[in-house]
Amino acid sequence: MLQIISLLVENKPGALMRITGLLSQRGYNIESLTVARTLDPELSCMTIVVDVDATLRQQVIKQMNKLVNVLQAVDLTEAPAVRREMVLVRVRTVQESRTAVLKEAEIFAARVVDSSVEGFALEATGDPEKLDEFIDVMRSYGEIETTRSGVVAVSLEGKKLKLQPPVLTEAR
């Protein structure tokens, strides 16, 4: 099973490399990774989906928490959390199918973001399995191209984040 890790990290050069390095060093393949700024521009939130042996998950989280730039790393794999992904699909379709494509898009709550004589560009969000189905359905109407965002997740537990206070030094 894939592990979903949510991290709050300092928005500094190299922070991403340190985190992915911990995974690549152990030979783990990253399935998806998203990263963006939080409300505090000095911090980024990251969601990583990675294939880690179940017995080693805790170790990976501990190693990530040791990184100086990581404020918090939590395992959301089995925790109460909302997981969402976005996909952009470009579907080329013949004139006769256009209405059907739009109907299907509606079923998946997808939005049309571009329309041309060749077909549509559609945007859908949902959990990854639902997006798999959406992509399958669209493929049945013609040639498609897709880009997925990777999973973003948010924990539903109100865990208080503990930040380390500044350390005073003797007039260095």
Binding site: M17, R18, Q164
Partner: protein, 577 residues
């Protein structure tokens, strides 16, 4: 209060404020501005002959003092040469700050002359690393680097500094606070867990204390000794923990593991409680994990939460500084102990001690000697005699390292200096240079094999140049001995690329550098030759030719359980011509 200065001077100011009195390095193109500032600064720069050895020397200094060791290299090849030393410091949790020059900011990423991605390369071999992009960040970063290197679980921190940052003009403002919101250091230990640990120790019938490098790193030998005496349990110290408890302490049962003593390994396998203090259950200690200490509950104290439960599940995990945790544990134990152990348990403990003594007597770490040739164990016994538990012994890696760990005694911490986790050959001599700079008046041995010595010969020049009285003892068996031992035992004695012939004449070699060297191969020469080396006011190179095919025993073959030791040579095997 601040005066206009440049980055190079500012860096030296930071080092001075961190209490650095000497550091080890090698200059180059982009560090020219820094070396210009060093020219008339009071901090001593020690010019080594290879950057790898700058890092090893910084480690030797750090291991001998507990202070942060500092090394310095130029960009590109200078920085890449530091890598082995950084990994070594990482594996053994040694506080080191490495300073590297980088090509001018504008040229970064252009494949400039002597450019390498030092920041990227050293990501995984440092506790943390930095690239300083502007002068305003320099002082903060350098002080952070020292703080990170020395606090929590110590380790190496690298600071990469482009040439233009060294040259930029600015004002130095003292750094009064370090703000690292994500850097967590757990020192105190959980009160409830400390109580549970005390209770578990109290209830144990066959306790064993397993102490490691964390005791040395935390300067916790005093607390350990008090703890050991209060619990009165047999105590094994790992390769990294030797000296944490004096070797002549009655509770000391030498080293466990692959080349550990019979008693230590049998004790590990039979105890009902392991009190693990600043250790990481290394594979060289545990052997086959499934068979390791099968009857034991585990109390595990470590400052690094990631070590707890990494290899062996802890029944009582305590995350904290082992010095503080032991201090508190000792208090709780003292209260518990007032009533004395119940008679049945006291009897069980006595039986446990007699069992330990029986194992010790059954297979002691006995010196092997011969009338015709020098046995390596004999060499270690003689060094031990001269040291009296007080000398600093900086070992290289291989058979001699294991024999030294078995036979040389250490009355205190920071005397035994070796590359434990990484097993980096070429470590012995440069680390001895660092240790001798830290303790100019102490007797320092660089105890090396003929393999590792030849990796560090260039540093003879450093030894002479700075007049360091390091006693270099080469245990010369003409082989890469440990590899040869494995080839003999597990590869049908097919000795592949392990013969080290054409070893130089050390009298001429040392003579060429301007100091004394001598080769001996007779057992009756050994004591006097070592004494002569120690008497010599300057450096000395003693090449000791030992019996070539001696193996280190006891030995737990790879993948074996630690109570399944091979105690001595197997049946003679046919040696191909």
């Amino acid at each position: 209060m601040s005066t206009l200065t440049n980055g190079a001077k500012m860096l030296l100011e930071c080092l001075a404020r961190e209490g650095v009195d000497c550091f080890f390095g090698y200059p180059g193109g982009v560090t020219l501005p820094f070396y210009d500032a060093i020219y008339d600064h009071h901090i001593r720069h020690v010019l080594v002959r290879h950057e790898e050895n700058a890092c090893f020397a910084a480690e030797g200094y750090a291991r001998a003092t507990g202070k942060v060791g500092v090394c310095c290299a130029t960009s590109g090849p200078g920085a890449t040469n530091l890598v082995t030393g950084l990994v070594d410091a990482m594996m053994d949790s040694i506080p080191v700050v490495a300073l590297t020059g980088q090509v001018t900011s504008k040229l970064i990423g252009s494949d400039a002359f002597q450019e390498a991605d030092t920041f990227g390369i050293t990501r995984s071999c440092t506790k943390h690393n930095y690239m300083v992009k502007k002068l305003e960040d320099l002082a903060r970063v350098v002080h952070e680097a020292f703080y990170i290197a020395a606090s929590g679980r110590p380790g190496p921190v690298l600071v990469d500094i482009p040439k233009d940052v060294f040259q930029a003009q600015g004002h130095y403002t003292p750094v009064t606070s370090i703000h690292l919101p994500g850097y967590k250091v757990f020192t105190e230990g959980h009160t409830g867990q400390i109580r549970r640990a005390a209770q578990m120790i109290w209830e144990s019938e066959r306790p064993l204390i397993y102490a490691g490098g964390g005791i040395i790193a935390a300067n916790a030998s005093g607390e350990l000794r008090e703890f050991v005496e209060m619990v009165d349990a047999p105590t094994v110290t790992t390769l990294m923990g030797l000296g944490g408890l004096p070797s002549n302490h009655p509770n000391f049962v030498s080293m466990p593991g692959m080349h550990g003593s019979y008693a230590a390994n049998m004790g590990m396998s039979s105890c009902d409680l392991i009190v693990a203090l600043g250790v990481r259950f290394d594979d060289r200690v545990t052997g086959r994990l499934a068979a390791f200490a099968p009857h034991a509950k585990v109390i595990h104290v470590d400052i690094d939460p990631a070590e707890i439960g990494k290899i062996r599940t802890a029944d009582v995990p305590i995350v904290g500084d082992v010095k503080r945790v032991l201090g508190r544990l000792n208090k709780v134990l003292a209260d518990l102990g007032e009533a004395g152990l119940p008679p049945s348990r006291a009897a069980a403990r006595r039986a446990w001690w007699s069992q330990m003594r029986a194992w010790k007597a059954e297979h002691p770490l006995a010196p092997v000697t011969s009338d015709s040739e020098i046995k390596p164990q004999h060499l270690m016994m003689e060094i031990d005699r001269l040291s009296g538990g007080e000398a600093i012994v900086c070992s290289d890696v291989g058979q001699h390292q294991m024999w030294a760990a078995q036979f040389i005694r250490f009355n205190g911490p920071r005397l035994w200096i070796n590359s434990g986790g990484l097993g980096a050959m070429g470590f012995g001599l440069p680390s001895a240079i660092g240790a001798q700079f830290a303790h100019p008046d102490k007797l320092v041995f660089a105890l090396v094999g003929d393999g590792g010595f030849q990796m560090s010969i260039p540093e003879l020049s450093t030894v002479v140049g700075y007049g360091l009285p390091v006693k270099i003892v080469v245990m010369n068996n003409g082989y890469l001995g440990m590899v040869r031992q494995w080839q003999e035992l597990f590869y049908n004695n097919r000795l592949s690329s392990v013969e080290l012939d054409s070893f130089p004449d050390v009298e001429k070699l040392a003579g060429a550098y301007g100091f004394k060297g001598r080769t001996i191969d007779k057992p009756w020469e050994l004591a006097s030759a070592l004494e002569e080396a120690v008497r010599e006011p300057g450096p000395y190179l003693l090449n000791v030719k030992v019996s070539p095919c001696e193996n280190v025993y006891p030995m737990v073959p790879a993948g074996g359980a630690i109570n399944e030791m091979v105690m001595g040579p197997p049946q003679p095997v046919a040696v191909p011509e």
